[in-house]
């Protein structure tokens, strides 16, 4: 079966972002960009399914500025077969991404789309669920285990009280959680090979989608800062302070 894996280019998770002084957003120029970590997990899962012979082809999709091609190259170096870049300067929000992905799904007919549960920049945690809704497909979100049995996907999900397993009739949507797998590093030969793998470039208009944002960002501000407090010298002093100064125990 064919798998589709959407991968987002985001500010690297090690970067502590700075809010722009004019409140227009966070500073992204000159900042290290990487593939969203949950999407690396999605690519890894797809590659493992291919290695097991369950999947036949992996198509990675990234949407945004031209530099998203780099993110696609990373996916190709990890083992995806080809890439699709939907290029636009418009700030894409999950509804637009989900509509663009629906259009690609209609062209490509994958049996499963594996997304990250959450992009670590907008922290929306929405696109997979929205794509499932638009396609009328079942969804297995926050997956920590995925098993394909015939036309069923068994998805073990990380939920608030522990784990839950659902069975989805394919085609289906899966979103990844942290414990699904540990993504591989691409080897140098695979990075070289990835340069030759094809990437198709499309515009939102080619897919018949209006990508305009529905949420206007009026302002982006620094959160209130916590002051570092004091060091205590002993456990006895700590307990005394918690009891008599902070009065929380």
């Amino acid at each position: 079966m064919k798998l589709l894996v959407p991968v987002k280019r985001v500010v690297d998770y090690n970067v502590k972002v700075r809010v722009r002084a004019d409140g227009s957003g966070v500073e992204t120029s000159g900042v290290k960009m990487s593939m969203n970590p949950f999407d690396e997990i999605a690519v890894e899962e797809a590659v493992r399914l291919k290695e097991k012979g369950v999947a036949s082809e992996i198509v990675a999709v990234s949407m945004g500025v031209a530099a998203c091609a780099e993110t696609l190259r990373t996916a190709l170096a990890m083992g995806a077969d080809r890439g699709i870049l939907v290029e636009t300067e418009v700030e894409l929000q999950p509804l637009a991404v989900a509509k663009l992905l629906r259009a690609i799904v209609e062209k490509e007919s994958p049996r499963m789309v594996i997304l990250g549960k959450q992009a670590i920049d907008d922290d929306m945690n929405a696109t997979g669920q929205m794509l499932a809704a638009l396609l009328g497909w079942p969804q297995g979100t926050f997956a920590s285990k995925l098993v394909i049995e015939g036309d069923q996907a068994l998805v073990t999900r990380e939920v608030d009280g522990g784990l839950e397993t659902v069975s989805l009739t394919l085609p289906a949507i899966v979103t990844t959680d942290l414990r699904l797998n540990e993504p591989r590093y691409a080897s140098l030969p695979n990075i070289m090979k990835a340069r030759k793998k094809p990437i198709d470039i499309l515009k939102p208009a080619d897919l018949g989608v209006d990508p305009s944002p529905r949420l206007a960002v009026l302002n982006v501000a620094e959160p209130p800062r916590r002051q570092a407090g004091k060091k205590v010298a002993s456990v006895a002093e700590l307990v005394d302070k918690l009891k008599n100064e902070a009065k929380v125990i």
């Binding site: 979100t141 522990g162 009026l218 570092a228």
Partner: protein, 312 residues
């Protein structure tokens, strides 16, 4: 301008994050709530007692037994025409269902709202809480998940709403519940506890978490963990506090053997008082801690337990 809130519930009643979602909804307009599940008479009655709730819609059917997103979203879409705003707490269940509802209504959802500015405008954290975005929705209907730590929960009692049955709605059937493996604990829930004590990679093993348990028992605390501790298998996934785990803001948060990565801080930095116990005085956790103790946790924790015993 009536608001519909979908409530998370269990055998004990309405969960605290859901009561925070009701508090957020009360800032927007009159509040109706949806309680969905199977054999949920008690939960519906608990919902009717929430102050500020005018009407409880009770959807009692096997299809809703496991809160699967597919049938729940179909039900919410059927109810949506009567409401300007649809809200849920940003719990695993709320995050699973609400974006699906939004897409079916052609709406961009607004996730993890921490403050309400007006009927169209909301504040939400982005980049692991390192920035706060004020966003204005252009959609006619708003679909929102609520960050519970941003809103004091309404009390569990005081209201007397009417309870009405939900319409029967045919939902999709391609998703099926198979099983659940829920962690059992006598402790308060992480997102509702007054005190949380969390362990990180420094704990070295799952057995060592009993050092935290002793203290948690004394303080009636919930026990949490960093991602590293969960990944290492010390504790189950539902212990994880952070950007991609649970968001907590207790009166007292004690971080033990946790370095204080951005992603962990995102889940606890709004706690009232933060204590850090770490042997590395350079650990970033000390930059947000009100009280920092530079010490070996294997020495400090038994002492902490005995000092608490003395103090009580």
């Amino acid at each position: 301008m009536t608001v519909l809130v979908i409530l998370d519930h269990d055998s004990h009643g309405i969960k605290q994050p859901a009561r925070s979602a009701v508090a957020a909804a009360s800032q927007l307009g009159p509040v109706h709530v949806l309680v969905a599940g199977e054999n949920i008479a008690a939960a519906a009655e608990a919902a009717a007692r929430l102050p500020g709730v005018e009407k409880v819609i009770k959807a009692d059917a096997p299809a809703y037994a496991h809160a699967l997103a597919e049938p729940l979203a179909a039900l919410l879409v059927a109810l949506a025409p009567d409401y300007t705003h649809l809200l849920a707490a940003a719990t695993a269940s709320g995050k699973n269902v609400m974006p699906r509802v939004a897409a079916l209504l052609d709406v961009q959802p607004i996730s993890d709202v921490s403050a309400v500015v007006d009927a169209d405008t909301f504040i939400r954290p982005i980049y692991a809480g390192n920035a706060l975005a004020t966003v204005k929705s252009r959609d006619a209907k708003k679909v929102i998940t609520v960050r519970a730590t941003g809103f004091d929960p309404v009390p569990a009692d005081g209201g007397a709403a009417e309870i009405v049955p939900a319409p029967a709605v045919d939902g999709p059937t391609r998703a099926r519940f198979v099983s659940a493996e829920l962690s059992k604990s006598e402790r308060p829930e992480l997102t509702a506890a007054r005190v949380v004590i969390s362990g990180g990679r420094g704990m070295q093993s799952g057995e060592n978490f009993h050092l935290l348990d002793t203290i948690a028992d004394r303080l009636h605390a919930a026990v949490g963990a960093s991602r590293a501790a969960v990944d290492a298998g010390f504790v189950p996934n539902d212990y994880q506090v952070g950007q991609t785990g649970k968001i907590v803001a207790p009166e007292l948060y004690v971080a033990v053997g946790i370095s204080g990565a951005i992603q962990h801080l995102a889940g606890m930095k709004d706690s009232k008082v933060i204590v850090a116990i770490n042997k590395d005085e350079e650990a970033p956790i000390f930059q947000v801690a009100d009280y920092g103790l530079v010490a070996d946790l294997f020495k400090a924790l038994p002492e902490f337990a005995s000092e608490l015993e003395k103090a009580s």
